[in-house]
Structures are given as C-alpha cells and as structure tokens.
Amino acid sequence: MLRFIGVRLVQMSLLFLVFLTLLFFLLQAQPGDFSRQFLDPNIPAENRDLIAARFGLDQPLWRQYLTYMGNILQGDLGVSFARYPRSVVSVISERLPRTFFLFTFATMLSYYLGFMLGKVLAWRRGGSQEMGITLGGVILYTVFYPWFALVMIWFFAAYLDLVPVNQFLTPIRWREAPFSANTVFASIIWSTLLLTVGLGLSLWASRKPDNLAQQRLIRWGGVGLSFALFLAFWLPSDRRTFATDIAHHAVLPIFTLALVAFAGVMLITRGSMLETLKEDYILTARAKGLAPKTIRDRHAARNALLPVTTSFVLGLAFIIGGGLITETVFSWPGMGELLLVSVQNQDIPVAIGSLAMVGALALIAHIVVDVLYVFLDPRIRYQ
C-alpha cells in the first residue's frame, strides 16, 4: 500500500519533470529570444548582447535548461513583467487558493450529483424519463461552454438578479474592511475543509459499533456537532458578512462548472452501472432476497464507482480546462484567469509559471484519485 503510493509519487514527479522540459522547449521554440522580443530594436547591438548576457541568453541551450529547471525546482519562477517587481510565486500563491476552492467544490458537487443520478438512470433503463435525462446530459456535455457560462450569467445574474454579476467580491463593501480578502478567504477554506473532515469522520465512525441505535447516534451526533462547530465559528465572527459576500460571488461559477462536469460523470456512471448490472454477483444478491435499493447501492453502484473513479483522471483535463474558462468568463481571479491575461499581456514568466502550476495541480489530483482507488478496490490493495 505505502509502496504503491511511493511508486506513484516517483512516477508523477518524473512526469512533472518531463512536463517542465516540454514547457522549456515551448518557450525556446518561440520566434526570437527575449532580447529580440522585448527590447527596443534601435538599441546598439553591443548593448543588446550585454543585456542578453545578463539574462544568461548567451549561454548554450543545455545550460539555460539546467538553470531553468534548477530555478523552478527551487520554487523560483522569476519576476512578473506586467506586475513588476512582484515575483511570480507571490502572484500565483494569491491566486492558487481561489482556483483550488472553485475546482474542489465544483468537482465534488458534480461527482456526487452525477453519480447519484447516473446510477438511478441505469437502474430504470428504458423509460422515456431516462431517455430525456440522458439526452439532456449529452447536450450539457457537448454544450459550447463559454457560451453556456455567458447564458448562465445573463439568466441568473442579469435577468433573475439572484447573484452578483462576476468578480470575486463587491469592492464597495470592502472599502472599510479591517482585513484583506485573502485572510477571509483563507478562513473560508479552512473551515469548510474541517467541516468536510468532520462529516467524513462521523460517517466512518458510525459503521464501527454493533447496534443500530449507536450507529445512528454517532452518525447524526457527529454531523450535528460538525455543523454546530462550523456555525459557532462563523456566526459570532466579524468576518461573517465579508465571507458571505465572497460565497455569494462563488455560487454561480461553482454551479455552472459543476453542471457541465456533472453531465459527463452522469453518462459514465450510467454506462458503468449498466455493465455492472450484468454481473453474476448482482444475481446472487437478488437471490439472497436483498431489497432492490440495497442491490443498487451496495452491490451495483459500489462496483460501478471504480470505472467512474478512473474516469476522473481522464476528466481532469476537461475540468481544469472548464475551470479556466469559468474563471475567465466570470472574472474570477484565479489561476486560469491569470494564465489567459498573462498570455494576452505577453507576461511570459507568469504564463509559464501558471501553466507549470496547473500541471502540478493535475498531477496532484491524479495521485489523490489513485490513492482513493486503492481504498475502493481491494483487488489492488493487496497486490
């Protein structure tokens, strides 16, 4: 088990190095080097060479490569052109939690809903309802996402006026704020993370005792306690109004991204469930006299979860791409928006830094899913 995770970690680190190398050559393949691109063409040649030498551009390629890799691995991503003299790392570290927040919530929501609906769809195969929902899923899955996001903004923000239009917060409210948006945002992230852990722990612990009453007590007690602590932290807090402002802005982007990602999960779950339902152990479960709901959830869905989990890795690029579009369309200041703006501004250090970070994010998510898979499938656990 530990060995498995270790091996995966090593593999992923290697993959990351390959990815960084590809990025380096992507940079090199640009027409001309920095000294040609960004300097006034009227500068005398010797001065230009001097500047190029200062930036190490006169070095042989392999040395430049080593410097580049060394710097990145030491966490030095350079200085932003557009936000000089801020370092790329500081720009990214401000943006990263916001992307993480959007991505995690949308992913969890879409997988939860997609799995629940997908398994019911497969269970009731053949009805007109099933056909309609599947068709709806296909439409959501193939919809032109930026357009869909724009329509969502128009409908929910402009037409119904339920949520604010775009942005991360309402600036006017924060004028007198005693703390920065990042501080409030950090407490949002930590509190929700702890809440999730609390909920998970109580569900896990509730399976331990032998009798039903105790199980129920632990489950609902734990859930109640987690929520109580969550509220106890926020209700008296003077950050509450500011936090709700951020949350209010986050609702629509999360919902939109989740909706589109959800469709893919639902279609995959449905297919995987249909396969599982043909298995012999489903017949065994029916012969045992189990209730249909138990068969569906405990036996079929539990096994159908495995391919769905695998598909997460394949869907990762999709969700990250979707997240990027979401951030841009909703002006949500995260990594995706940073990447696009830096590309448009030719802010190359930030562009490369963000891309490296997005790649790292994808790899980390991959490892998390791998470990999850090991827990879900005993056949792998004991190999």
């Binding site: 032998d210 298995e279 012999d280 152990y281 017949l283 065994t284 479960a285 029916r286 012969a287 045992k288 006299g289 189990l290 209730a291 405990r298 036996h299 539990r302 096994n303 495995l306 879900l376 499938d377 005993p378 056949r379 004991y382």
Partner: protein, 346 residues
C-alpha cells in the same frame, strides 16, 4: 456434530413432499415474439432428496432454476402454473413477500461461482448480509462470525477465511464458500446450478462429494442442474431430462441410466463415454436444439429423432407414467432399444 445445524423448521419428515411444481410456463418476451424457455414443467421434490435436471445448454434448465426463485430476467414472465413450497404457491405472491422466501427457504449455488462474489466486499460480510436479512433473531457481530465459522467448517474452509476477499480464494475455495453461503440461512431447498462446471476435475469431484455428504448429514433437499450426465449420475436420486424447455423423461436416476425410454435421453446417454461399463462406440447427437422462438410442431424433438413418425410431427406427446414413477413424453418409447446404445456395443 452434536446438534443438527439445520433444524427441521417445516416439521416435515424425510420423504414428504417439499416442493411441488405444476405445469410451470415461463417465456421471455423479445422483439421477435415469445421465447418459450420453460414449457409445462411439473415435478415434485421430497424432503432429503436430490433431484437432477439434465439437458443441453439452452434447454431451459437454468430458466427453471431462476423461475423457482422468480429471478428470471426482466423480460421473462411466468405465464402459468404453480410453484408450491410446503403447500404455499410462490407464483402469485408479491415481490416483497417473495424476497422473504429467497435464500431463507430456497437458496442457490450459481453457475460460475467465480463471479458470484462481489469483488469489493469480504466473503464473510457477503454471507452476513444474508444472515442479517433472514435470521429470525438479530445476531451480534460475534454470533455472525461464529455462525459463518461453523458453516466454513462444514464445507472444509478455515474459519478465518471469512475475513478475506474473494480474489484471494482459489476457484475451489470460492465454490466451497458459495456452498457455505447457500447453507447459511438453513434453506429447505438448495438449487445447485452447474455447481462444478468451472472447476478442474479433481476439485469438481471433491466439491461433489462434499455436497453429497452435507446433504446426507443435514437431510437437505437439493436440485442439481447440469449438462454433465456424469455429475447427475453421481449425486442424484431422481432425475429429469429436459429438451427445448420441456421435460421429456423423469424417473429414478438408476432407472433412466439403465434403460432410458425417451429417444433424446437414449441418444444423450449414448453420446457420453462410460468409465465402468463395457467399451462402446459413441454416437454423436446430430442436429441442433430448435429455435425456441418458433419451436417445431408436435414433439419438439421430432426433427432430430430417429424414431419420429407422422404422429410426432403433428401431435405433442404427454408426459405419461410408464410404470414405477418413470415418466416419458414420447409416442414411440417402446421402439427405443433397451441395453444397446445408439452406437452399438463395440
């Protein structure tokens, strides 16, 4: 064993009627029409008896087994007849009520035990699931472990094997565990559908012996289903020969083996080598089973039957007693030679 593991809950004594199937008809609905998988099948199973169903694949053996538990595929429908368990008809009762009878009264050892285990749960937990559902009292975790340990001892598995996952078992162990699971709720009837088909010959023999011993020890009633005549010969008291969804011959296993009266049974036996008997020429069974969407008129075996007459092509023969409980559905059963196989004695 001091106390019998299976108490006689029904109050029936050995030899009493336990399961009575009457004129059972089960058909699958397809786009092209109805496929008659089980047609007018009747038989009686007594307490402590082993009954065999034999026939080619596709002849409706498994369909009968599934119909007894009302587990036929979604497009299958029981269109007539009755299945009386201890006098109670299982056909008209609701699905919810049927669930309380499954495993509790009739349990099953499935074809291909390899795949009858859910790969993500421990073997013990999967047996526990049945116990939680059907055991008259709620068992504590320790009691469940103890009970599964007893069952495992009965089928020759160590008690701690219940903590393992199915993929950690060998094929034979899995099959033993499947038998333990089938016994878990003290069912009155066990249906063993091709219990040994997927196993290698040595393990096959061990499992059959084990089943036979358990049956004798616990005075169980078992319905064996197999395409393998040798299996049926080894373990059953009485047997039925199935052809194209119909029962064509029924009687004591020994009687049928010594003197099959239906041409199909006769040809089937002739196509199987005998280890103990005299060396003989094997006769291949010509032709293929009929298309059940559109079965032949008259006797369903007539296109392949060497004894077929005009009557056979028009009129369906009833399953009639020819003496001593030996039943045959054939107009010309007297033409079937006794003592010689189709290939002749070599």
């Amino acid at each position: 064993m001091t106390t019998p593991l299976v108490e006689d809950t029904s109050g029936l004594k050995s030899g009493q009627t336990l399961l009575e199937v009457d004129n059972l008809i089960m058909r699958y609905k397809t786009k092209q029409g109805y496929v008659s998988a089980v047609e007018d099948v009747s038989f009686v199973l007594h307490k402590g008896e082993a009954l065999g169903l034999v026939g080619e694949s596709g002849c409706g053996k498994t369909s009968i087994a599934l119909s007894l538990l009302r587990l036929q595929a979604d497009n299958g429908e029981i269109m007539g007849g009755s299945i009386k368990l201890g006098g109670k008809d299982l056909v008209p009762i609701s699905e919810e009520e049927m669930r309380t009878h499954r495993w509790n009264d009739i349990s099953m050892v499935f074809q291909g035990a390899m795949n009858s285990w859910n790969p993500v749960y421990r073997v013990g937990d999967q047996i526990k699931e049945a116990l939680d559902l059907h055991w008259p009292t709620r068992l504590s975790r320790a009691e469940v472990r103890e009970r599964i340990g007893e069952l495992f001892a009965l089928v020759g598995l160590p008690a701690d094997a219940q903590d393992r996952y199915p993929h950690e078992f060998s094929g034979g162990m899995r099959q033993r565990a499947v038998i333990a699971m089938a016994l878990s709720c003290n069912p009155q009837v066990i249906i063993a559908d091709e219990p040994t088909t997927a196993l290698d010959v040595i393990v096959q023999d061990q499992i059959l012996k084990e089943l036979k011993r358990i049956q004798d020890d616990l005075d169980m009633s078992i319905i064996y289903i197999s395409h393998d005549i040798a299996v049926i010969a080894e373990v059953t008291d009485r047997m039925a020969v199935m052809y194209a969804g119909k029962m064509v011959e029924f009687g004591d296993t020994a009687d049928i083996f010594s003197a099959p009266r239906h041409p199909y049974a006769w040809l089937l036996l002739s196509s199987t080598p005998s280890i103990v008997g005299p060396r003989r020429q094997l006769a291949p069974l010509e032709g293929e089973p009929p298309n059940l969407l559109d079965p032949p008129t008259g006797c369903r075996f007539n296109p392949r039957c060497p004894f077929a007459t005009d009557q056979c092509r028009v009129e369906e023969p009833p399953l009639a007693d020819i003496g001593g409980g030996h039943m045959v559905a054939c107009w010309n059963y007297e033409d079937v030679p006794v003592g010689i196989t189709a290939g002749g004695v070599a």
